[in-house]
């Protein structure tokens, strides 16, 4: 009898143990590091946060496999918060992939600072970095200034390279629907030269089509108005020095100063022309609205063309131009310096760093970058020089013309040393939204609110 009871107990215990084992196995992840696949062939995994890059990366991977024999499995994880959570959990379980496409100039430093990224300085010496557009070359390099700005970089060494630039571009590119311009009596081949002309264009298209003739922008992400229109506008009006003075610590030349208020007044001129419901549109929603003909103008970055194209917008029907400078301002021909938008990083946990570096090297070579750019309609950070049009097509190459110009006329989004450390643009957005389109505050009140936000950031950083 005792034996029978004991046997039952053993059986139950064994069953429970089996169940727990199965559970533990199910909970355990499968490694994402480099492995030898069938027949000893090498394989890598790569994660990107951009759905629009997936197909192009897969095309490039296929080409890479043919030339190197290394297979790369690319996975897109979107949206951004899901990507962040995925990296965080993978970092904990040591299941990071071999290669990551990350936001340049931020994510790479924070992940690298935690010791999760390989130092690529030896693999990409200065001679190799020369293949990139000049303003993007050092996007992933740890400098003393960056260590001061980003506390997570403290464990790293100056000179560490946590990413190489992959895509480049800039914000503040206006996309206009040529057909709608024509319907409004505007020349669809000529972009407005000044801010005032741009506002007149908006007035004309809105008059021609009150419901679908306005300006779309994903204002649900509150900082888009600030990052994609306001800063370029303010820089063009004030010039470099007076623009940077707006952000000064304890400054009297801040946003509530005459300079600041004037730029806010200019920005406020957009108020009647936003597409209805713009504050409830996400960035993708706004681009889709434009692609579907629900607005005449759309503001984005150089990367927006890819998304518009994927959503059915014919690039030939699009006229592009940077945010036009206001009349009477300091700069009459605004240029926008390209910055590295995304970078490629090799994880410190990769099982085959050499293979991963080879893949990164291929992707950033003129050949790989050309394949990627053609497939994604996104601009690579690799300087394609005179080959650009042949490699990436005329539509995309046309966007590059806004990158070059005299330094004093060029707005560099990546230049941030004049802002408080830990600057958070998401804090600037709501105040600007209250000015336009919500009309809840006037330019002077908005200036005061922005100054208060900046003062708080300076206080926290000190």
């Amino acid at each position: 009898m005792a034996r029978a009871g004991s046997r039952t107990t053993h059986r139950v215990t064994a069953a429970v143990a089996g169940l727990l084992l199965a559970l533990a196995t199910a909970c355990g992840g499968s490694g994402g590091d480099a492995k030898s696949g069938d027949g000893g062939a090498k394989s890598l995994t790569m994660w990107t946060f951009k759905r629009t890059h997936l197909a192009a990366l897969q095309q490039a991977a296929e080409k890479f496999r043919t030339s190197s024999g290394i297979t790369v499995k690319v996975e897109a994880i979107t949206p951004d918060d899901a990507f962040t959570a995925k990296i965080q959990s993978a970092a904990q379980t040591k299941n990071l992939p071999d290669v990551l496409e990350v936001h340049a100039g931020g994510e790479d430093f924070r992940i690298g600072g935690a010791g999760l990224l390989a130092d690529l300085a030896g693999d990409f010496p200065a001679s190799k970095l020369a293949r990139f557009l000049p303003t993007t070359r050092e996007a992933g390099l740890v400098t003393a200034e960056r260590q001061r700005q980003i506390t997570e970089l403290k464990p790293a060494k100056v000179g560490n390279l946590f990413s190489v630039p992959f895509t480049a571009g800039t914000f503040g590119i206006v996309y206009a629907n040529r057909q709608k311009m024509q319907a409004a009596g505007l020349d669809p081949a000529t972009p407005p030269k000044t801010w005032e002309e741009f506002v007149d264009h908006l007035k004309a298209t809105t008059k021609a089509d009150p419901k679908q003739g306005g300006l779309s922008l994903g204002l649900k992400v509150s900082q888009t108005g600030y990052n994609w229109i306001y800063v370029q506008l303010a820089y063009a009006y004030l010039g470099k020095e007076r623009y940077e003075a707006l952000f000064g610590k304890g400054t009297t030349q801040g946003f509530a100063s005459p300079d600041g208020v004037k730029t806010l007044e200019l920005y406020g001129q957009l108020t009647p022309y936003w597409t209805p419901g713009a504050t409830a549109l996400g960035i993708d929603d706004a681009d889709i609205a434009f692609a579907q003909g629900k607005s005449a103008f759309d503001v984005g970055g150089t990367f927006t063309l890819a998304f518009l194209s994927q959503n059915g917008m014919d690039p030939k029907n699009v006229l592009t131009f940077p945010i036009p400078p206001p009349t009477g301002g300091k700069i009459s021909d605004l240029r926008l310096a390209p910055l590295a938008l995304t970078g490629l990083s090799v994880t410190a946990t990769t099982g085959d760093k050499d293979a991963a570096v080879k893949w990164v090297d291929f992707l950033t070579s003129p050949e790989g970058a050309g394949v990627f750019a053609k497939g994604s309609l996104d601009l690579p950070a690799t300087d394609l020089g005179t080959q650009a049009e042949a490699l990436i097509g005329s539509d995309l190459a046309a966007l590059q013309k806004y990158f070059t110009g005299p330094p004093e006329n060029t707005f560099d989004f990546a230049a941030t040393s004049f802002r408080p450390p830990g600057f958070d643009d998401a804090k600037m957005g709501p105040a600007l939204l209250k000015l336009s389109p919500l009309k809840e505050s006037d330019p002077a009140q908005t200036g005061a609110q922005l100054d208060a936000v900046l003062a708080a950031m300076w206080k926290v950083s000190s």
């Binding site: 009898m1 005792a2 029978a4 009871g5 004991s6 039952t8 107990t9 139950v12 215990t13 069953a15 429970v16 169940l19 727990l20 559970l23 951004d80 918060d81 962040t84 959570a85 990296i87 965080q88 970092a91 904990q92 936001h103 931020g106 994510e107 924070r110 992940i111 600072g113 935690a114 010791g115 506390t151 997570e152 419901k211 204002l219 649900k220 992400v221 509150s222 209805p276 419901g277 713009a278 504050t279 409830a280 549109l281 996400g282 830990g422 958070d424 998401a426 804090k427 709501p430 105040a431 939204l433 209250k434 389109p437 919500l438 809840e440 936000v453 708080a456 950031m457 206080k459 926290v460």
Partner: protein, 341 residues
Amino acid sequence: MSATQPAAPSGRSTAPHDRGLRTRASGARRPASGGRDASEPGRRRRARWLTGYAFVAPAVVLFLVMGLYTIVYGFSLSFAKWNGFTADWEWVGVRNYLDLLYQDPTLGPDLRRAALNTLVVMIAVPLGTVAVALPLAVLLSSIQRLRGLLRSVYFLPYVTSGIAVYYAWRYVLEPEGPVNFLLRTTGLGSLARPQGFLADPATALPTLIVIMIWTAVPVATLLYLAGLQSINPNVLEAARIDGAGSVRTVRHIVWPLLRPITTAILLLGVRDSTQGFQIFLIMTDGGPAGHTDVVGLQAYHLAFFKGLSPTLGLASALGWMIFVAALLLALANGRTLRSTR
């Protein structure tokens, strides 16, 4: 083979069973009389305990891993600075809590605004749910025909609620969406919102509250229906004989008798309002310009929208502050309703 095999399994299957029965029977007939026999009941009891514990073990282990561990982990995190990557946490004591409450000027204004919005939602959603669900339940319980069908119809929002429904609502509430169209075509154009209901600061939060009520009403109605069925019909009959009308019956008899259910509905509403943020994330992301920001959404933003800055500890601290606030409110709510019984 067919001739010999059928007998064998039959014999094998019955023998152990019989043996078991016999063993058990003999054990019952012969009480322990010392030696090995004396320890048998104890062993049996231990075996039964072990069996019982083995059965509950998976649930306990799951709770320890998924519940207790995460609670302890989350609570510890609220005293640290961490971005989810570094090997070590930077312990900061109660600084995260102090930063959220008053110390960090970059956090305070947003948090105060979000807390105010949360308070509005916390009051409006539970009260609105009760205000709709109780009359609906009374009406549903008083009709005989189509009751089942109507119950199913009113339960639909609960069955279908979730992310897909929030996206559907966004479409419905757009500037050129069905709601504005309906208002304009029925002569109520003055009520239409040219910017849509979610982009207009005046209507964004009230609209979300209405949708939250719409989502909460089905369960509340079901709870009330169950409560109504448990009321002694004689009591209602007596009231009718005494001349009480429908409104008076509901007010003086049904409402007091359903107060425990109302308490539960209010508590559920408060919980959803303080901790739920999905609707805010999907439909407005706190906009326009923070007009629909709530503390749950703030915690989510702190955790996942700070460019991998080490703000997980802050997010966790905010989560715990929300928990404590919800707990205190629930206790106060329950006590108030009990005292008025």
